[in-house]
């Protein structure tokens, strides 16, 4: 082989190999076993992140000077249902957050009830799974207080958040946004049901009247338009069974990374 034909051979071999790798990766991506194998790493990441992070450790907090002038809204910007529009028209006076599931004391909390509960104000960074970040000041009721007030039963492992925004285009088969946290994240001192953003009632685009803030997780965990909280042992029976709307679409349940 001459030097130049050798080079051509090497270049062709490299191009063929990389094309094969790409085709292979797409095949694996579209198989059922491939993503399941890849998902194995999620367990490892979850375990290691839990091990290195103190369960009470606080996410970094910032100063007023760091607050973004407009807090970027993502996902549903307006649930836009007749029901929701009626709540907007009445200033969410009749909005209730129903606390159900493994509780001895079911609750139906109005926004006024939430405002009367022990609260926390925090200036935190919101990290979207897409890669961007935005800083805002959130005020809300401590989720831990709500859970304690509802008197959870033993065997409670997860807290599921039900929302008013329908993600389905088909009104006959609505698919409401939902999310879930384990008890460590749910009882964390920075985990709140926020009703104020930057000192003002939450705008519709950001989840009015209440949204979840779980500051050690990515943005998709922080359900907006929350109207229900359900304490469960597992979430296999809820919608796709993966613990959240985006989880059912293939996203990781562990959203610490």
């Amino acid at each position: 082989m001459t030097e130049s034909s050798r080079r051509k051979f090497l270049a062709r071999a490299a191009a063929t190999m990389s094309a094969a790798v790409l085709a292979g990766c797409d095949k694996i991506s579209q198989s059922t076993w491939g993503p399941n194998v890849l998902r194995g790493a999620e367990q490892l990441t979850h375990m290691v992140q839990r091990a290195i992070t103190n369960r009470h450790a606080l996410a970094p907090e910032f100063t007023k000077a760091d607050i973004a002038p407009i807090f970027r809204a993502n996902g549903t910007l307006n649930p836009d249902s007749d029901d929701y529009d009626a709540h907007v028209a009445t200033g969410f006076r009749n909005w209730r957050v129903a606390v159900r599931g493994l509780v001895h004391n079911p609750l139906d909390l109005s926004v006024a009830d939430l405002r009367a509960m022990p609260s926390r104000t925090q200036i935190t960074r919101h990290d979207c799974v897409e890669g961007w970040s935005c800083i805002g000041e959130w005020t809300g009721a401590l989720l831990s207080e709500i859970i304690i007030k509802a008197e959870p039963k033993r065997h409670t492992k997860f807290v599921v958040f039900h929302c008013a925004d329908n993600m389905s285009n088909d009104d006959n088969h609505p698919q409401f946004y939902y999310e879930s946290l384990d008890l460590i994240e749910a009882m964390h001192p920075q985990t709140i049901l926020a009703y104020d953003l930057n000192g003002k009632p939450l705008p519709v685009a950001n989840g009015a009247p209440v949204r979840l803030r779980a500051e050690r997780q990515l943005g998709y965990k922080m359900a907006k338009y929350v109207n229900g909280i359900e304490l469960v042992t597992d979430f296999n029976h809820i919608n796709g069974g993966k613990g959240g709307y985006w989880e059912d679409q293939g996203y990781n349940w562990w959203a610490g990374i």
Binding site: C25, R39, N54, A59, D66, W132, G250, I257
Partner: protein, 278 residues
């Protein structure tokens, strides 16, 4: 150099010399595959928000780099890449590219991402699975290099530093070490390998971890170290393309010096030299 086996009988003897240990060869090829998947799944993740910023948070109006699509008056799509204040038409490559014959809006083109179709969820699965392989492979190499003394081969000596000018000029003239000299890394190789393995590698891992909100809670010092999450993301991106840059130079050097010989030495471990009778 463990074994010297003469293979020729001419005046100049051709010797096959054992050059790379099995550890180095295996870890090298695993790393090559892992880095390729990391890069391409990383570009898939980047495509979810194809812009980079500096600081704690994203200043959406002032990205340091962004890829976007504009609708031309004739209805066609134009891909625009903005770097600081400069804008470039990158239609076909960045911002807008072809996917199964149709021009679509996407940061990096389909052939550069894993998976080829748009899926942030799958891109993240690939990226975080292979990230563990990258870290484990890197730690195995580091412990091997330190325990076996291989690391000394990667550290420039005083003699190397004094002759760095000559080495530089030789490289520019494409004159590469021959014979026994080719059995040791020259100073530019040492600097490149050392920097990539012991600086770029850890840097890309740490900036990646800085993007994790849980890791930021456990180790907030990372945010201070890199100047905020968005700067860390930008450094992560620059590191990724530094690996691409290293790869290009690595391949060019291989092809210009001794492609078959070099490739074989990284597969079988044996590198051929022609020894003079000195």
């Amino acid at each position: 150099m463990a074994s010297l086996a003469p293979t020729g009988s001419a005046h100049k003897e051709r010797l096959l010399v054992y050059r790379h240990s099995v550890m180095v060869r295996v870890l090298h090829w695993i790393n090559a595959l892992v880095l390729l998947v990391m890069l391409m799944s990383g570009l898939q993740i980047f495509n979810a928000h194809p812009a980079l910023y500096l600081g704690k948070t994203a200043d959406f109006d002032h990205p340091v780099l962004s890829m976007s699509a504009w609708r031309e008056p004739d209805g066609s799509l134009k891909g625009v890449t903005q770097v600081g204040p400069y804008q470039f038409n990158t239609t076909g490559m960045l911002g807008v590219s072809s996917f199964y014959g149709q021009m679509v809006v996407r940061g990096f083109p389909s052939w550069a991402t894993i998976p080829g179709f748009k899926s942030l969820a799958l891109g993240r699965l690939w990226h975080f699975f292979f990230a563990w392989l990258f870290v484990i492979n890197g730690l195995l190499f580091a412990s091997y290099a330190i325990s076996s003394g291989h690391i000394r081969e990667l550290l420039p000596t005083g003699h190397d530093i004094r002759n760095i000018g000559k080495d530089f000029v030789d490289h520019l003239r494409l004159r590469f070490p021959k014979g026994k000299e080719a059995l040791h890394y020259n100073v530019l190789q040492k600097l490149a390998y050392f920097t990539v393995i012991f600086i770029l590698g850890p840097l890309i891992v740490l900036t990646g971890l800085t993007m994790s909100p849980t890791v930021d809670t456990a180790v907030p010092q990372l945010l201070w170290l890199f100047g905020g999450r968005q700067t860390a993301r930008t450094i992560h991106f620059i590191c990724a393309f530094s690996f691409v840059g290293f790869f290009v130079v690595h391949i060019v050097m291989l092809v210009l010096s001794a492609p078959i010989n070099g490739l074989r030495s990284m597969i079988t471990g044996r590198f051929a030299i022609e020894s003079d009778d000195d």
